[in-house]
Structure formats: C-alpha cells, structure tokens
Symmetry: C2
Subunit: 660 residues, 2 copies
Amino acid sequence: MPLPVPVLPEGVDPAWLPPAAFRAIGGRRTLIRGSASLVETVHGEVAEACRRFGGRVERDGPDGGAYDLVLALGAGGLGDEGFSCVREGGTTTVTASGGRGLLYGLFHVVRLGADAFRGERAREIHRPALALRMLDHWDNVAVHPVMGQVERGYAGGSLFWDDGRARGDLERVRAYGRLLAACGINAVAVNNVNVHATEARLLTDRIGEVAEIAGALRPYGIRTHLSVSFAAPVVLGRLSTADPLDGAVRDWWAQVTRRVYEAIPDFGGYVVKADSEGQPGPFAYGRSHADGANLLAAALEPFGGTVHWRAFVYDHHQDWRDRTTDRARAAHDHFVPLDGEFAANAVLQVKHGPMDFQAREPVSPLIGAVPRTRLAVELQATQEYTGQQRHVCWLGPMWSEVLRFRPASGATVGETARGGLVAVSNAGADPFWTGHPLAQANLYTFGRLAWRPDAGPREVLGEWIALTFPGAPARLSEGLHAVLDGSWRTYEKYTAPLGVGFMVQPGHHYGPSVDGYEYSPWGTYHFADRDGVGVDRSVARGTGYAGQYGKPWSELYESPGTCPDELLLFFHHVPYGHVLKSGKTVIQHIYDTHFEGVEEVAEASRVWTGLADLVEPGRHARVAELYEEQLRCAREWRDQINSYFFRKSGVPDARGRRIH
Amino acid sequence: MPLPVPVLPEGVDPAWLPPAAFRAIGGRRTLIRGSASLVETVHGEVAEACRRFGGRVERDGPDGGAYDLVLALGAGGLGDEGFSCVREGGTTTVTASGGRGLLYGLFHVVRLGADAFRGERAREIHRPALALRMLDHWDNVAVHPVMGQVERGYAGGSLFWDDGRARGDLERVRAYGRLLAACGINAVAVNNVNVHATEARLLTDRIGEVAEIAGALRPYGIRTHLSVSFAAPVVLGRLSTADPLDGAVRDWWAQVTRRVYEAIPDFGGYVVKADSEGQPGPFAYGRSHADGANLLAAALEPFGGTVHWRAFVYDHHQDWRDRTTDRARAAHDHFVPLDGEFAANAVLQVKHGPMDFQAREPVSPLIGAVPRTRLAVELQATQEYTGQQRHVCWLGPMWSEVLRFRPASGATVGETARGGLVAVSNAGADPFWTGHPLAQANLYTFGRLAWRPDAGPREVLGEWIALTFPGAPARLSEGLHAVLDGSWRTYEKYTAPLGVGFMVQPGHHYGPSVDGYEYSPWGTYHFADRDGVGVDRSVARGTGYAGQYGKPWSELYESPGTCPDELLLFFHHVPYGHVLKSGKTVIQHIYDTHFEGVEEVAEASRVWTGLADLVEPGRHARVAELYEEQLRCAREWRDQINSYFFRKSGVPDARGRRIH
C-alpha cells in the first residue's frame, strides 16, 4: 500500500518540497517496481504528485516505452542507499538495491525536474560518501529554566517535545523526515546532549515516546538516536556507581539497551556528552573515555547500534590569569592517546573546530590525528554564534572549507569522517521550520554536503533555490545568490576579527561584548591590550597548540608570517600595526571589515527589498523584518568592536570615519 | 490585656533582641500606666522579660519608690512618637504622649541596659528627627522568572509572600515588626516597586492579605504601605485609560482607595515607580509627574495617606555612542521644574545618589533643589551593588556622609528629607534575617539614622553590638568594630575606583565586569581608553551635570583640581597619570587600592577567625564561610580591575606587584 504523503499543518511552509517541485514527475507516467517498506513511501510520493498534476503511476508492471519514469528495486552492488539513474529511449530509469536508495533516487529526479525527462542521460551511480548523515537535536523534553525548550534553538519550540510531554501530532514529524530524506539525512538524535532529569528517562520508562518518533521517521529512511546520561545507572537504575568497568553497570546498560531495541528494532544508538561542561563521565571513576564509550558500545553491539561519543571535553573552570592552559588543545590532548582503544561501533564525534562553532576557527587538529578511531565531524546548523537565525548567514562555504581541508594525513576532512557528518539541528516548530526562512538553506546544504562532502556549496544552494522557489526567474535566483553566497563572510566581517572569536554577550551569545568572556572561566580569551591582540598558540612562544597539527599546517600556523590572515589572531598575539598579507595593518583591517560588513548587510537588505514582487508576501515580510534586526545588530557590532579597539590602540581610522 | 511577645520560629536568630537584652528590665519592678493599644505591646514586652528574669510588672498602680521603672502615658507635647526619660530617687521614668512614644521609650531603656538603673539621669527628651522611617520591600508575590521572589533580595525568600500566596505564618512578621520598632522604623511597603500582574491585585481583590500583614505590624507602631501600578485603572479596573486628568480614572482611584482604608484604617499610602525602567506612568498621556502623583495624593488625602512618588526616572534605552545624554542629570532635569506643583501629601522619593546605589556616588543634586516639595531620601540596605550580603559592607558611614552632606540650601540632607528616610529592605526569610549575619547591622543602623540622621554611625554600631551580643567582652566588641567599621571603604577599594561605578556583571550585578555596562543602553559608562578614564560631567566641557549643584559644590565638582578624589572619575575624564590630592597618580591609586582592599578583607577574615571562642558556632561558621567567598570575589575584582587598566594604560605598577 502506498504510504500517504504527510499533510503539513495549516500555515507551515513546505520548505524545499513545495508541491510544484513534483510537477515534472506528477504529470507523467511512472512505474514502480520492487518490494520493501520504503518502496511504499516512494509510491505514495509519486501517487500524490500524479493526483495533483494528472499523471499516472503503476506498480510492478512490465518495462517498456509506456513509462516516462521507472523506479525499480533490483540491481545489487549499490548498497542500501545508492542508486543509478539513466535515460534511454524516452524512459528515465532509477534503480536501487534497497528502499532507501530508491527513495533517494526519487528525490534525485525531483531535483532534476523537467531535465530528468529531456533527451538522453548517461548512467550515473550515486552513493553517499558518508554512511551516517545525522542531525542532533538539542531539544529538551521539559522546558529548562535557563535554556528553554530547545538549547540554542532559534526556531520556536521542539518538533518532538512540548513542555514535558511528547507532541501528540506526529504528522509534522513525518513531514520533517520527508524534508530530511530529500536532502539525504538518515539519522536524528531526538534530545539534547545535556541530559537533564526528565530527559534521562527517555532511555527507560519513556522509551515508548521515542519509539513513536522513530515510527514517524522510519518511512523516510531515518534512524532514531538518543542522547543519554553517563550517570543513567545511578540516576535511573539506582546503582551506586556508573563505573564503566563495574559488572553491574555493564549488565544494566545491556538490559536497558535490549529493551530499547525491543521498542525500536532499528534504533541507531546513543549520543553521549561526558565529562563536559558539568555532564557526568568516566573521569569520576578514574576511567578513560575509551572505557566509557566502550561500555555503551558493548551494550549496543549485539543490535548493530553505535555510540557517538563527543570529544568536547575541556576545563570549563579555567583561570583567565593562566595563559599556559589552552582550551583549544583539549580535544587533541584528551583523545589522541586513546587512538586504537575505541570499539568498532564507537564513534568519536568531534566539533569541526577546536573551540565551539565560532564564525571562524581552524579545523580541529584531532581530525586526522586518530587514524584507528572511527570519527564523526560535528557542525552546527543552529546559528548559536552566527546570528541565531535572525541574521542571514549561509554556512555552506564554511562547511565546505572544513570538509575539503586536508589534515596532515592527506585525506580531506570529508574523507576522514568515516563515522559520519553530524549537525546540530536548526529546525523547530516554527512555521518556517528554521525561524529565518533563509536558514532553511543551511539545513538543506548540510544534508547534501553530508552526502557528498566535495560538492560545491554554491551548486547545492542552487538546488535549494530551484526546489524552494520552483520556476524562479533568473532575477530571483540571482537575488538569492546575492544575499546568501557571501553572507557568512559578511557575518565574519562585522563580528570578531581574524579568527579571534568569542566576543559575544555571555550566556545567550547574541550580539557583541568584546570583553564578555575575557575574564571568565571558559577558556575563551583575546588578550587585547593597548599594543596588540590575539592568542599566542605557537610552539616557540605560546601554548603549543600549533604543534598539534601535522605538517605543513604546524609550520604554517607557527609563524605570523605564514599563518593565513583569517586565522592570525587565533594563532598569534600581534601588534595593531602588524601588516597582513592583504597589505593592511591589523587595526585598519578591523576598521575596514567592520564598516564593510555593515554596508554588505545594508546592500543585501536592499537586494531583498527588490525581490518583493517575486516572493510570497509572508515570507518576504519576515525576511525583511529580520534584515532590520540584522542591520541594527551589525551596526552594534561594528561600533562596539571599532570603539573598543580604537580606545585601546589609539590608532585613528586611515579613512577618517567616525568611531565612537 | 498585655500583648504576647511574638515567638520566633525554631532556628531563627533573635538579631538585636535576644532575651538577654531585656535582663536589666526583666529583673526589676516596673509600673506601666496609660491606655492605648501600644501600651499593651509595652506591657507584653515587660511581662515577658519579667517571666524570664524574675521581675514584676504592674499596671496603673500609684507612683512611688516601689518601682525601678515607670512607663507612663501622660505628658503632652512629645508628639505621637517622642518620649522623655529621667531617673530620680531610684526610679527611671519614661513618659510619652502616645503609645508609639512609650514603645520607643521602652526600647531606649533596653538599649541603656543596666545603665538605665544606675545613679541619677537628667531628663532627656527624644523625638525622631524624621516622621517617616520606612522600609521598602522589593518582594514579589509570585516568583518572577528573572528576579525571583525578592528583587535584589539576598536573604532567602520573602517574609510576606511565598510563591504566589501570602505566608500563612504571621508570627514571623510580628517578630519582624518588633525588630523594626526596636530600631525606630515605623513604615513598611510590602511589595516590589516593579509591580507585576499578580502584585497589582494586592490593591483590590487581594487587599485582605495586605490587611493581615498590617494587623501583624500594627502593634509595633508600623504602618503598612503598598506599591501600586500607575496603570491599575486599566489593568485592574478595565478602564481604557490611566490618564491622571481623566475623571473616571480619578473616581476609580478614589473608590479603590476608600476600600483600601476600609480594610486597613491606618494604611500608610502608595509607593509608585512610574515611567521608570518600563513601568507605566503619566508620560504616556502627556501629563507631568506632578499630575501623576497628585492623582493618587487626591485619592489618599481624605484618609490621611501619602503617595511616595519615586524620582528614579531616566532613559534606560540610551545610546552609548551619545556622550551628551547623562543619566545622572535625569532626576534633577525631570523634577526641579515641577517644584511647588506636588500636593501636600505627595512625597518625592529620591535615591541618595544620581545613579543607582553604587558604592560611591555624590549626593543627588535634586536633594535641596526642590524646597517646595516634600522629599524623602531613599537608601539601599539590600546590598545590590555592595556585595549582596555575601560581603561584609557596613553602610553606616556611607549613609551618615549622605545625611550630613549640606546641599547649597545649607541644611543637611537629613534635615531636607522632610518626607522621611526610606531604605530598600535587606531582610527576608533567611534564619539570620539578612543572609549575612553581620548585614543585620545595616538594617539596625538604617533605623537609628532615620530617627537621628546626625547620629554618629560608629556609636550606632556600638548599640547594635551591645544588643546583639549581650555582655560582649571588649575583645569581641573591638573585633566586631574592626571588621565592620571600615568595611565599606574596603569594599570601595577593591571594586570600581574613584566613584566611576557600574563595573559589575550585567543583570545580577555580582562580581566584576569592567566593560559589562560600557556599551549598554543603561547610561552607565566609564569611557576608559588607553589614555584615561572617567566621565566628564563638567559644565565647561562635559554633560553639565556639575552645574546642577548650587555653590560651593558646583564649583568644587567642576574642576579636577578641586573635585574630591573619591568622586574624581564620576565628574571628570582624566589621564592615568593625573595626580590625586593623595599625591598618587590615578593608575597607581587603582593598583594600590585594589591590592589593599584584598589585604583588608584577608585581615578582617583573620580577625573574625580569632573571635571563634566568643561567637556562637553557627553564626561564626556562616560568617567564616562568607569571608571565603568575599576573599575569592575581592581577588577577582582586584585582578580584573588591575589587569584591565594595565592592559589599557600600559603603566606598570610602581611596586612591581604581579598584574595579569
């Protein structure tokens, strides 16, 4: 039986799957062949498109010229998720080995649109580069007194949870799964990595609620994962210890995990934030993080599950007076010695940079440094430090830079992330899913880059535009590129300069506060004084962090003369008069980029205004309002940063612009 | 019938009324004469003392040598609150015209202790200098999501309210009233000046709860006041306006106020924070603050009530880039033009300084500048900006400086405050009443200074010590003086320097953040740059604030050469090399005071440790623990302030101490 396409609640935006995106398929004759549950999903999609556009779909009929499109299970060798696509003799044929592959093949045809049915197409084989393409939701079940329903969420409430309870309405979750499948995502963790008391119980007596979500996501090929507390045996199981080498603890996890799989046979596994920012972990028992991860891996192993063990372990009670301790070193210091000790189904999940999702960071030196460990790279789609979905900041270019970066090992980050690519989700119960309507592009881009890390981000953005605005005239498409393509660089320009990071308001992290974290215990400093600014992370004179990279990066980063401009203050403390490769001094660069950043936001806002006749009024108005806030905030950034550094350096702007 | 003395709940500290404070009275023969409800309170106090210490009390008997103490209503001319005290022929006689006077006379005898019964004493007449001696409780009825149960409260919950409801147990409130009466306080406002939705209803359907509190406080001579919302006619009365010149609005307030007095016949009046930090006010209707205050004054006038109209009106959405606007000017700018327009029963309640209860501010120029207005001066006993009752900071010397200050009018502030002296209360449901046990001294000192603004604060502290630690040996008394006498100056030393203020963590205001409010909309800036620091408030070059004072202050404050050192950065922006009257440069003064401040805290902590054998263990331990936190926090202040100014100025410490 074809699975009905989910019905969007009234007022909810269809994002990159508006009905018109299915016009090319829906007006044609399609044959679907094969037997698997996801084939019913494919059938339902095509049937709905045909209902709307007058085409026809048949099931398991004979091949032949009578069909414009054949979607068939069959050929082996493509894996569960791969598919091939060819067009010959007026028929476009998608073949897959498994249901997921067929579904991805269908969405491939959707992306091709009318082009899928023109002329001939040579056979192409598509397989995801990474087997795991995952979203981590930092959603709380109960509203947290400080962090709210969704920690670092800027898109309304949670899609899964509402004030302590599971949302009854799973139709929205099904629609979410459909959107995710259409960009290639195949795993979702449904709760925050900071596991509070209510959330801990999802693992045990509330597993049924997780099973319902899993049931809603399964038809779109998405497996469900759960964030768990390392202290669960104590908190939930009333054991006196959570020591990973304790037999009773191992038994407890084994039993609990068996019950999880009874409820959710295709359960993906656990996500764990341990010994991190106050979360419990193996350190309390004198055990290593490999011991901790392997405990859960052993419980999951019989069922094919995976533990995602986060590498975000650092001292968050640092003394700002101590310049020898360097938070950036922490992940590498902690985990490199453990390489080879992790179980095969334990994945070390590493943030892409050494700090915490700043607008500019170097790639984490841990990536590429643990060859005997399965490693996943974690990105942040939710814009905690990049404008909180009130600012346009399309992260495709940043992510692409990270994924194409080649650590000393020679392989790219994308190739190194054998454990998968993960993003903290930016989606919520907001009618536009992501708060800012243009932030949908980040979610879509993440999925597509996880499928193909070497994809060109601008090409992916083009896909998103074509799907989201079907039949968009060139002026709209160009306008969207104009406001999105460079938006991350623009954001970088008007915020913290040259990779130094963390000049944000403490706590909520929105808006500037140059010294907001300067005298804090968080390990996030810029050390600006009247003579210069930046953190000396060289081996010769600083914290030695630069030496955590292999060559050539360790040598390149070691010296201010060879360090890339955009990371200069991350690696070096330099005088304001230091001349960048651009030929500008650091201080003039700060002034210039901050004036430019604001001008670029103003220009983007003008471009958006000019698109009013091409975008639905509701979407246009929302973006236009948000541009007002972005412009206000960008000016605040410009003026605070420039004033701060002018007051400190005393160097006037070479162009004589007003600095307060 | 004598009124029973309130029974303290188990574990609650008796503060300055421990049973032993009544030993001298309780062991003697006392005659009480007169008829008034408060005479029953006096009778109850003496009877309880006699029960404990074996003395005798009689009522309305004949005079004669048979009595050690006579407490009698009788002589006129002393006012409702005054009393006379004389000792002749072995009898100490207190005479008062009214019940409150007799109660204050009793507590006078308690303070005298055994001295009251030695030799002869010439007749002394005691009358309060100020008719109104008031505590404003910033207590919320419902727990506010940000501010909690008590806004700026550091002493546990509220004495009156608990999570939305009135506390059932009024015995603690009675005991509170007794403590207040013993230091001379005669008025209490029972809710926060920021009147939220739940609290607004105290005025109408919840007035019965206020009446119960009033009933508990009345036997100790304390009248109850209520903070109300200027928008009450709209919020509670469903009128379409709160315009003070609207007839229906006036009628509404008249009717509501009549019902208030039906419930509480001796109700004190309203406290209003209007057009201030988001609270509603008359500006919304194009009316003046005199119009606003007079509206409520008219409603209260038939019943003898008073409206306390706060002068804390300023722009809290200021642009930090704008150096011409000066928050310090605001109260004077707003209210001087209205002098003479306020009704006789409207009191303009002015914070003692022009900003907001910083550790050091000049006296508000509004005080003394509105001779035709009844003016009350507001102090802050709750230590929002002075260590939040985790730091020892006895405010007696600061308040005394304020009260003895002579504005241009020639009279002292104490003499100018015809409308009374008000303090934001520092008391709560904490077992020690004030969180920090030594913070009790602030509450006591406030009451006594309100009674006699020209009292020497050290003498008042001596009273508090003698009452709180009856029979204290000299070593204890000297030790308490050692840790308290200079504690405000110590606090000033290790926090924001030279009167500049507001270098605190935003929001909660605890601990240092030099730039925390520097780029904010709150009007609280220090303008530190690499060359100097401070706010130019001169007439010649600055905001003109100095010109709001009459002579000699306007001249004195106008020039850095004549401005007192401790206010220099409040009035002037000076280079770090500017030489103070002390002979030190500003930057060296900053370094020196910050090192000294920490050393003084360490020394005070050592002194306290040495008193362990003389103080009950529970009290000693609590203070000792709090000293650890004070020392930690003082070091943090020292290091952040010194590092900030070293990084900015580049000037090394002349004594070569370590600055980070």
